[in-house]
């Protein structure tokens, strides 16, 4: 119910929202949780395993129970914490994990079966009969498990990522965080202040105590006004720092538009920040923990501090009759505040013997709650007091088992928190995250005055560390009593006592785990699933550890510690992966001929991030093979044009360029004459082939090499490594010019005629002999011409600066069209090269050696080169190696399938008989047969033999003749023609 005169909500701004198909009203400033509580809606969800009815337990992101699905237009967001979701006009939320309804949940039956579903039960059963696991048991378990549901639709919501840099990142804007931020800011440091809430102040917003003589939130507002005025401060609200990573890198999730009914076009729902901070201060406060007493999980039971938050920040009381159960002084603030707000407080049950009330309420000292009643909402608690049981009617119970410092970020780099017996909890280990200091409740400092002082002191120290001379100023004082606690974890009694509310782990489960010798904390957690729920044990790990310690007869510090891994709160995949959806995963690279190619309706294929044309369909062609055959024949007959700009091109200059290249290539390029091109092969240092390409000598000390499309980056990096790390003595420098030059293959008997129609100066076989290169001019533009061929035809590659690529491609197509030629795509290119026995990365797949592809003799014995020594290892040469051969079907079935394996004709097609495999295949319209390249055991010695190709998937098996890999024009007459 709403309490008049309380809260920071705007009662003039009414917001309509829907939960569980029912319309409600709340106010601007509400969370979904506070608005539901204001409407007396206590039942919010069902637990994971036993489907127990559950209500709101906390007022923060650690909420384990109040998880709902929020519907936003076409998208739905499962597992949204009602305690974090700000209310907006028109919000639609649904309960989850309940069928047919929240009130009557069929799987509530699990609760009755719970004796048979105790810790680890599934490891002990469901094994008979064997096949039933996948078919019967697992589907049932899967359907029963899980929380919310994903919409199986494309998620179109916008998310983004961004980077930020600062001197100091202050995490949390409670008293210590505000003090740290203002202190660092006044010292002139660049500050980022990030807070999970939409409003700065932290616990100050939930408490009535004063700071510096005014209510805490008014003090916070004043600090905020000063911070907002400073240009060196960046305030990030709705931002949760999610992870601490190396060298001061932090992840942070900003909820940008979750609170908006309508958001401006282009505004992301969330931004995931990568923050690089020289220093950081963790001021994340503390989280209140529960006490495990029988049936402590009914709707209406929540933490005592959450109750105060609902009252003081949202003007809501979760009930008409309030009871409080605690083991520490802090719990009394809840009783006091509710009494002052005019709400009936029926009992303050304190397990400590000596207790003083701080307000007008009934205290049961030395008492404990031993049971509760109310199926869908709390109706009464039973307490044990002075040896007698007493039932007290109430509809809300606030519980405080003490406070756990928010040590989570300090664990992200494997730091283990340490036990502090004064506060009966874990505190951060010093230096757990380099550059991160901890202040306030997060450090175990439970008084507001102390937190303010620590925030100040940490920031002063950081400022001095970073070379500033910060001025000192007077510290504000807070008006609260000391924090006194007596450790108290669980209550024995009839009925189950919950620890992990969402995963339904009870104290009995922990004890059973110990009994089964899962005594290590990690074993206990994994066996019982304690701490594995969406709150990752924030609410329950310390209690569970205490119960385990008790069950195993050890103290808490000896039993172990609790740790946390990033992220602090669960982060949407769409936020972490922002920009990755659809085409954003990797850059797209387009050829200069792309527009013209698209106009010709060529289907595009992806290669090394580039898009290249597969083939150029002509009118009447209905199958790619028709286009491919035509294009291949066209090149053999007249002339074809192909954009080959994707090949890596590296410009190499310097007096030692030749020596450098000789160290990279297995063959010699130093002997190459200016104006000539040579094929070259590079190895990795392990003796396997890295890449092949051409090397053109443009000048005495000037080379241009090409790489394959796929290996362009790898080769460039390799060259950088070899030069900088191994041979920096060589006076050579190189740079990629792949992108500067648009380069087109002009291939076919009419290639020279075509070129002579457009080049400024006519070329001849003398000026451009086979494997010649040089400068040319075309249309007033300086270009380069290489007489090289990947098709086996008389062919050239013509390069111009990329700005002219589109224009040149269109010109070449025009010229070719007049000669009966035209463009050809990757399919035809593949046919032409297989006919000629040229290799691609289908053959040099990282496992093949120069020996395997028949190029061992190219390895120069006059010089050292990368990979030479290791290529001579016994396992990399010899008859046991698979060697490159050609294959031609000679059976009734004239089909070869790439990827198929090879066997002796009579052998069974099993691994033990494997003789090799097919790498590439095409139909050759020239040879009028399917032809293929393959690696065959000792293949070069088996040319002329017959081998059986078996492809299991399609059931195709055929006999093939083993041939030389060069099928067409083995003498190379056409190249020189």
């Amino acid at each position: 119910m709403r309490i008049a005169g309380k809260g920071l909500i705007d009662r003039d701004s009414v917001l309509n929202f829907t939960f569980n198909n029912k319309l409600y009203q709340g106010f601007e400033g509400d969370t979904l949780a506070s608005a539901l509580l204001a409407n007396d809606q206590m039942l919010i969800g069902r637990s994971f395993k036993y489907h127990r009815p559950r209500g709101i337990m906390t007022a923060g992101s650690e909420e384990p129970n109040g998880l709902v699905t929020v519907q936003r237009g076409r998208t739905q967001e499962p597992n949204t914490r009602a305690t974090v979701q700000q209310l907006y006009e028109g919000l639609v939320a649904r309960p989850q994990n309940a069928w047919p309804s929240l009130k009557y949940d069929f799987l509530g039956i699990n609760d009755l079966l719970s004796p048979f579903l105790a810790a680890g039960f599934y490891y002990k059963t469901f094994m008979w009969p064997k096949a039933f696991w996948e078919r019967v048991y697992e589907p049932i378990i899967r359907r029963a498990a899980g929380l919310g549901e994903l919409a199986e639709a494309y998620d179109h919501d916008l998310y983004e990522k961004a980077f930020a840099h600062c001197d100091v990142l202050v995490i949390g804007a409670g008293p210590s965080g505000l003090m740290a931020a203002i202190t660092a800011a006044r010292a002139g440091l660049d500050v980022i202040l990030a807070d999970e809430s939409n409003r700065l102040g932290g616990r100050l917003l939930s408490e009535v105590e004063e700071v510096d003589g005014v209510t805490g939130r008014i003090w916070a507002d004043a600090i905020l006004v000063e911070l907002a005025r400073l240009s060196n401060v960046r305030i990030m609200t709705n931002t949760t720092v999610t992870g601490a990573y190396d060298q001061g890198t932090y992840g942070a999730l900003e909820r940008v538009a979750h609170h908006m009914h309508l958001s401006p076009e282009g505004l992301p729902l969330e931004t995931f920040w990568r923050i690089a901070a020289r220093k950081a201060v963790l001021c994340a406060g503390a989280l209140e923990r529960q006490i495990a007493f029988p049936n402590n999980d009914r709707p209406g039971i929540m933490t005592a501090s959450a109750m105060r938050t609902y009252l003081n920040r949202y003007g809501v009381s979760p009930g008409q009759k309030i009871a409080i159960f605690g083991n520490n002084s802090d719990a009394h603030r809840t009783a006091r505040d509710f009494v002052e707000a005019g709400v009936e407080v029926v009992a303050m049950i304190d397990c400590r013997q000596e207790v003083l009330a701080i307000g007008n309420y009934t205290v049961y000292a030395g008492a404990e709650v031993v049971g509760t009643s109310g199926r869908l909402g709390l109706k009464a608690v039973t307490i044990r007091h002075n040896g007698a049981l007493k039932t007290i009617e109430c509809d809300a119970l606030g519980v405080s088992g003490g406070w756990n410092p928010s040590v989570h970020l300090t664990c992200h780099m494997n730091g283990r928190p340490v036990w502090n017996k004064d506060i009966a909890s874990f505190v951060p280990q010093d230096g757990a995250v380099p550059g991160l200091s901890v202040a306030g409740a997060a450090a175990g400092e439970m008084s507001t005055t102390g937190a303010l002082a620590q925030g100040y002191a940490m920031a002063q120290a950081i400022a001095r560390d970073l070379g500033k001379r910060p001025k000192s100023f007077d510290l504000p004082l807070a008006s609260e009593g000391p924090y006194e606690i007596t450790p108290f974890w669980d209550v024995d009694g009839k009925g189950r006592a919950w620890l992990d509310f969402q995963n339904d782990v009870t104290t009995k489960d922990i004890k059973q785990a110990a009994q089964e010798n899962f005594r290590s904390v990690e074993h206990m957690k994994r066996y019982t699933t304690q701490g594995m729920a969406t709150d990752q044990g924030k609410n329950s790990n310390v209690n569970a550890l205490a119960v385990l310690a008790d069950a195993t007869g050890r103290g808490i510090p000896e039993t172990g510690t609790t740790t946390f891994r990033p992220p602090y709160i669960p982060v949407a995949m769409a936020a972490l992966g922002a920009g990755g959806h659809a085409k954003g995963f990797a850059p797209e690279r387009f050829l200069t001929s792309d527009a013209a190619t698209q106009e010709l309706k060529a289907p595009m294929i992806e290669a090394g991030l580039w898009y290249r044309p597969s083939y150029f369909p002509q009118l009447g062609e209905t199958h790619w093979r028709q286009s491919c055959d035509r294009e291949a024949k066209m090149v053999r007959k007249t002339v074809g044009i192909c954009d080959v700009s994707t090949l890596g091109k590296i410009d190499i200059q310097g007096p030692d360029a030749a020596e450098f290249l000789d160290f990279l290539y297995i063959n010699s390029v130093a002997s190459l004459k200016v104006g000539k091109v040579r094929y070259g092969l590079m190895l990795r240092e392990d003796g396997h082939v890295m890449d092949d390409g051409t090397c053109a000598r443009l000048g005495e000390h000037y080379y241009l090499i090409t790489t394959t499309t796929a290996a362009a980056g790898q080769v460039m990096r390799h060259m950088d490594f070899v030069h900088q790390a191994l041979r920096s003595d060589l006076d050579v420098s190189f740079t990629s010019v792949t992108e500067h030059w648009a380069q087109f293959a002009v291939a076919g008997p009419a290639a020279r005629d075509l070129l002579n129609g457009i080049l400024t100066h006519t070329i001849t076989d003398k000026t451009f002999p086979f494997m010649g290169c040089g400068a040319v001019q075309v249309g007033g533009v300086d270009g380069r011409l290489f007489r090289i061929s990947f098709s086996g035809e008389h062919a050239y590659e013509l390069a111009v600066p990329a700005g002219y690529g589109d224009s040149l491609f269109r010109l070449l197509l025009d010229q070719a069209a007049g000669m009966g030629g035209g463009p050809y795509g990757m399919e035809a290119l593949n046919v032409l090269r297989i006919e000629k026995g040229f290799i691609t990365h289908a053959e040099i797949d990282g496992r093949t050696t120069a020996f395997d592809i028949g190029m061992a003799q190219m390895i120069s014995d006059k010089k050292d080169c990368i990979g030479k020594t290791m290529a001579a290892r016994p396992g990399l040469i010899g008859p046991e190696r698979d060697q490159l051969v050609g294959l031609k079907p000679v059976d009734a079935i004239k089909k070869i399938i790439p990827g198929a394996h090879l066997f002796e004709t009579g052998a069974e097609p099993i691994r033990q008989n494997d003789q090799g495999y097919v790498t590439s295949m095409c139909y050759s319209p020239t040879i009028k047969s399917f032809i293929a390249q393959a690696f065959l055991r000792d293949g070069r010695n088996r040319i002329g033999q017959t081998i059986k190709m078996v492809e299991h998937l399609s059931g195709v098996s055929t006999l093939c003749e083993v041939c030389d890999p060069v099928f067409f024009d083995p003498e190379g007459g056409r190249l020189r023609g």
Binding site: L158, E160, K161, A162, F163, A164, H165, D190, V256, A257, M260, S263, P264, E265, G266, L267, P268, R274, A276, G579, K583, G584, A586, P587, E588, R589, F590, L591, T592, A595, W610, D651, Q653, G654, P655, Q724, D731, S733, T735, S736, V737, T738, E739, H740, W741, I758, V778, G779, G780, V781, V800, P801, A802, G803, Y804, G805, D806, S807, L808, L811
Partner: protein, 183 residues
């Protein structure tokens, strides 16, 4: 007589303005220069004499009119616009990469907020000042990023990735513009 026509890297898709940030394409000659061993001084002398500019140190960008010299990587500087290429080529490896890069100037008061969504560089004013040039990434692309003025940056990515640059840039510009409207 045939003629070839020039097409810019973005295909004339710029300028655009979203919110208070604008982007325009720059077409200029661009050469990478790496002095041969022992020739650094001579190369610097050529640049000083012919261009009136000091050889750029790491992360330095200098310009006179429309001629720029800028640090480019561990072994190269870049010269943009008019430059004594022939003289430089005697003492250094000079490589024409004019058409290899898509060059876009972005400017406007929120330009740094836009860049914060694109690059891991520290783009705070006091850390990335006018006259600085750095190599880094724009989303997944290798990039050269230079600060020409407090609120004006020059971005360069490989030419073939121009479309991706425009996509990434406009997405970031839209987001920053939308934040300004956010209520």
């Amino acid at each position: 007589m045939v003629e070839l026509s020039f097409l810019s890297a973005t295909g004339n898709k710029l300028p655009i303005k979203i919110g208070n940030v604008s982007a325009t394409e720059v077409n200029a000659t661009l050469h990478l220069v790496a002095p041969f061993h022992g020739k650094s001084t001579q190369a610097a002398t050529v640049v000083k004499r012919e261009m009136g500019l000091d050889w750029p140190g790491v992360h330095e960008l200098k310009h006179r009119g429309k001629s720029y010299v800028l640090w480019f990587d561990h072994s190269h500087i870049a010269v943009m616009g008019e430059a004594p290429l022939a003289k430089l080529a005697r003492v250094a490896a000079v490589t024409d990469v004019s058409d290899g890069w898509c060059i876009v100037d972005v400017y406007g008061s929120d330009v740094r907020d836009v860049l914060a969504r694109l690059t891991p560089l520290d783009i705070r004013e006091q850390h990335f000042k006018a006259g600085m040039t750095q190599r880094s990434m724009i989303m997944h692309m290798q990039a050269s990023i230079s600060c020409l003025e407090k609120s004006q940056f020059r971005l360069m990515v490989f030419r073939s990735m121009a479309r991706t640059l425009l996509h990434d840039l406009t997405t970031a510009m839209e987001s920053v513009a939308a934040r300004a409207q956010k209520v």
